[in-house]
Amino acid sequence: MPATVVITETNGTLAGQVENIDPANINMGSDDSPEIVPATYPITAQADGHAFEKWLRVYVSALGGSSIIDNIKIWLSNLGGGWKTGEGWSANLRESGYVQMSYNTGGPIETDSADADQAMPEAEPSGPNLGISGSLGGQITSSPNYSDWCVLQMDISNLTPAGSVNQKTITFQYDEQ
């Protein structure tokens, strides 16, 4: 039986944080909440504009017949019709120089994220780019358990045209042994 693994999104302040297990989507917008409807929470075009950060984790609720979960990779696997002017995604995902994030006291922000300071990968990384217990070589060997935090943020500019951006696909990949 495969392990039971889903993504979680956490919102709110550190003291009042709320975890949403297995959100239906990871839509970006101008509100710190899961499963955003973009039309309801659009991002205003502006210089150095940003959506609220997404604080996500890979959550293993049961190992099933597996003994190890590891090798987590996260990337944009499909850009749809490509980027609009001034549009981009940032993340804390790195294949070297990895730093484990801690959930911020104030929770996710919609100003330029100091945690998501890397360009979001647009191709499958050659190695893991999200750690477990602070290490890219880390492994989950018991359940329930989590990966480290994955911090994502959508960035726009004052030149980003009005209307919807192109749909993109975010892939979360992990291995079971």
């Binding site: 989507n25 892939t171 979360f172 291995d175």
Partner: protein
């Protein structure tokens, strides 16, 4: 990895008459009755496997887990630079694909990987099975 009785287990993927993939696997199980399993079931047998043979059209790749040998087409042995310590690798790989600006559930894509990796180097022989078919390749370690 001591020797043991080894019933035959077959996995077959026949896509058309000109492109046949077949994986023949032996295990330590007590039963001597050959049986057919799906590749996803191999995960549960990963500690039991004693040999694997992959046949693709006229090519044959054979891994003997017990003696730690890998043979191509019945003769040419893959030359590991350090063949003292190899182990068989099994992994079930899952991709959760989320589409933005969407209210739909994420798509789940499964891949099964089975291979012989060489301890102390970055290379391995890897069999990848997915909905797209079967690929056998030299690869960097996962």
């Amino acid at each position: 990895m001591g020797g043991a009785s080894a019933p035959l287990i077959l996995y077959k993927e026949r896509r058309d008459m000109d492109n046949v993939h077949e994986i023949i696997i032996t295990t330590r199980e007590d039963s001597n009755n050959p049986r057919v399993v799906q590749f996803r079931d191999l995960f549960a047998l990963r500690e039991q496997i004693t040999s694997m043979m992959y046949i693709w059209n006229t090519n044959c790749y054979y891994v003997d887990v017990v003696s730690q040998t890998f043979i191509v087409n019945g003769g040419r042995k893959i030359q590991f630079s350090n063949f003292e310590a190899c182990k068989v690798l099994y992994r079930r790989r899952t991709q959760l694909k989320y589409t933005t600006n969407s209210e739909g559930e994420p798509e789940t894509v499964l891949t099964w990987l089975i291979g012989l990796e060489e301890i102390g180097t970055k290379r391995m022989v890897l069999l990848i099975v997915s909905d797209n078919g079967v690929v056998w390749q030299w690869a960097n370690k996962l």
